[in-house]
């Protein structure tokens, strides 16, 4: 399924989930439970070296499984509440199977949070993570109905139940249903009734859709509308802009525009009601298969001698960011770039990157360069980010 802005709703998600699961198990191999920062850094280091198998596209935009996993990992960094929720449900010494399931659950929740935000940014309509989950349920249900229609001879009784009449010849509906937009909401409801499907369980999750064909229809149409649109327009227009930061000028212009002489009342949006505020039923838990190459990650590669001097020469100390962080030292500044923009970016000078990885040094390496402990480096990094954020907002 594709909706505006979403990245994690297609079949490739299974691969992203497997990759994150496997890297996480490796990060949990140490005897004590890692903190969020330790966890992020460990998994990111493994992901950066993930082999060719994980470069395959994980969605129809062509984002690789590895890049999708990395992006989701960085999203976790921005949502410490999800990490805390994950940690509090873990027993003192979780077994591998339980750990795997909890990791799966955490990322399954996170992907719907991230994609519901992506959807809101792309189309300006409110969407909760639970609503995203409901879209996916309806899409799966539609595909199931389509599969039964296509093979109506083998499933005459169930197809009859869905259509509400006896079937003795090829049903015309089967030929007419070319896309999810042609799927009638009653069929979804009757299909669910015919097999104890998601709309006919005791779970309250989809209560908002039970006995509500109009709402089901509206959501099926949302999916169909975007599928029709994206079939004709497969490239993201964002890639057509030669400068991906042009919008910053618009943002600052809007914030700096003179206020109206007699401004009216603030026009803030009301907090939307979430129809799908039901409880989480838990998520599918399939086994994680193992890519042996991922277990052979070198612990820490040393940087070439003179790295810091060369990196300093490549830095423009008059830049906006460097001026705000001038007291912090280069290792902290590099840690800030790594946290905000990721360890790989075309904008980084070559001298900032570890020649062994082509990426910014790891946090462990940066702590070594700064001559401080890892927690101290993180604390300084986060303090610098807070100062930058205050400066960038005005």
């Amino acid at each position: 399924m594709r909706l505006p802005g979403t990245r994690y709703q297609e079949h490739g998600w299974e691969q992203v989930r497997k990759l994150l699961g496997q890297c996480s198990l490796a990060a949990f191999a140490s005897p004590s439970l890692p903190g969020l920062d330790d966890y992020i850094e460990a998994v990111a280091a493994i992901l950066h070296q993930a082999g060719a198998r994980w470069q395959a596209p994980g969605n129809s935009y062509g984002d690789s499984v590895r890049d999708l996993a990395l992006t989701l990992l960085y999203e976790l960094q921005a949502r410490p509440g999800d990490w805390t929720a994950f940690c509090v449900t873990l027993p003192a010494a979780p077994g591998e199977a339980l750990l795997r399931k909890k990791i799966n659950d955490m990322y399954a929740t996170l992907r719907d949070k991230v994609d519901s935000d992506n959807y809101q940014a792309a189309c300006g309509r409110a969407c909760s993570p639970n609503r995203m989950y409901a879209y996916r349920m309806l899409d799966t249900a539609y595909h199931e109905v389509a599969r039964l229609f296509a093979d109506w001879r083998s499933h005459a009784a169930q197809v009859g139940a869905i259509l509400g009449r006896d079937i003795d010849a090829a049903p015309i509906e089967a030929r007419q249903m070319q896309s999810v937009g042609h799927c009638r909401p009653e069929w979804i409801l009757r299909w669910s009734a015919s097999c104890g499907g998601p709309l006919h369980t005791r779970s309250k999750r989809f209560d908002a859709l039970k006995d509500n064909p109009a709402k089901i229809k509206a959501m099926l149409d949302d999916i169909a509308e975007y599928e029709a649109l994206s079939a004709n327009l497969d490239a993201d227009w964002r890639h057509d802009l030669d400068d991906a930061t042009l919008w910053l000028d618009d943002y600052w212009r809007v914030l700096a525009a003179p206020e109206a002489a007699a401004p009216g009342p603030d026009r803030m949006l009301e907090e939307p009601l979430d129809d799908f505020a039901g409880l989480d039923d838990g998520v599918d838990n399939e086994p994680v298969d193992i890519d042996p190459a991922l277990d052979l990650i070198a612990a820490s590669v040393s940087l070439p001698p003179g790295f810091l001097q060369m990196a300093r020469l490549a830095e423009d100390q008059t830049s906006w960011a460097a001026r705000i962080m001038i007291e912090d030292g280069l290792p902290v500044r590099l840690a800030v770039h790594a946290k905000l923009t990721g360890v790989e970016d075309d904008a980084y000078p070559d001298a900032w990157c570890d020649p062994a990885t082509g990426a910014l040094p790891t946090m462990q390496q940066l702590a070594g360069l700064a001559g401080v402990s890892l927690p101290t480096l993180r604390k300084r990094r986060d303090a610098a980010i807070a100062r930058l954020l205050a400066a960038a907002r005005t």
Binding site: T245, L246, V254, E259, D266, M268, W320, A321
Partner: protein, 181 residues
């Protein structure tokens, strides 16, 4: 833009959209679009709400990018005719929407940029009145200015050589584009 500027802007963009827990859309599209168009500025409260909501900033980014993508940015053209010896009177961009007219001669030579009223972006460009520049194949500025109400912009021919010879030596190409502030 220097490499350091690019690095700064990448970092600033990442800072502004870094996700925040329990964020939601704070301003409707109509409010954001009116602010982008300069029609209705945001109130102080709305500005604060925007600045504190990375998700709303992402929505603004999307709307601003869509707006930029729909705006005309540049048209390129080539010096086509072989040198017949006669002075060149005009040059037209490949899309046919801009014409450079050359009038007068010698030190009194003038160059006029004219926007074709049939251009699909004519209304938008006339309304927005961006600073325009015409550059030759070496990047040298041939003309800089804003269109008048008739869609024209005129200035003195800035080079010693006549237009045909000048463009011949400067890569035989030219471009009409919005000038970066």
């Amino acid at each position: 833009m220097t490499a350091a500027d690019r690095l700064d802007r990448t970092l600033q963009a990442a800072l502004l959209v870094a996700p925040r827990e329990h964020d939601r859309l704070m301003l409707a599209d109509a409010v954001l679009l009116a602010a982008l168009d300069g029609a209705t500025p945001l109130s102080a409260g709305e500005r604060a709400a925007l600045a504190a909501s990375p998700l709303t900033i992402r929505r603004l980014r999307h709307l601003a990018n869509a707006r930029t993508a729909s705006q005309w940015r540049a048209s390129a053209g080539m010096l086509r005719a072989a040198d017949s010896g006669a002075p060149m009177a005009e040059l037209v961009t490949d899309d046919g929407f801009w014409t450079l007219h050359f009038i007068g001669s010698g030190a009194a030579m003038r160059v006029i940029l004219q926007l074709n009223a049939e251009a699909p972006f004519a209304r938008e460009v006339l309304a927005r009145q961006p600073m325009l520049q015409v550059v030759d194949g070496t990047g040298a500025v041939v003309l800089l200015g804003r269109l008048d109400a008739d869609g024209e912009c005129e200035s003195a021919w800035p080079f010693a050589l006549a237009p045909a010879q000048h463009f011949q030596q400067a890569g035989a190409v030219f471009s009409v584009e919005t000038a970066r502030p």
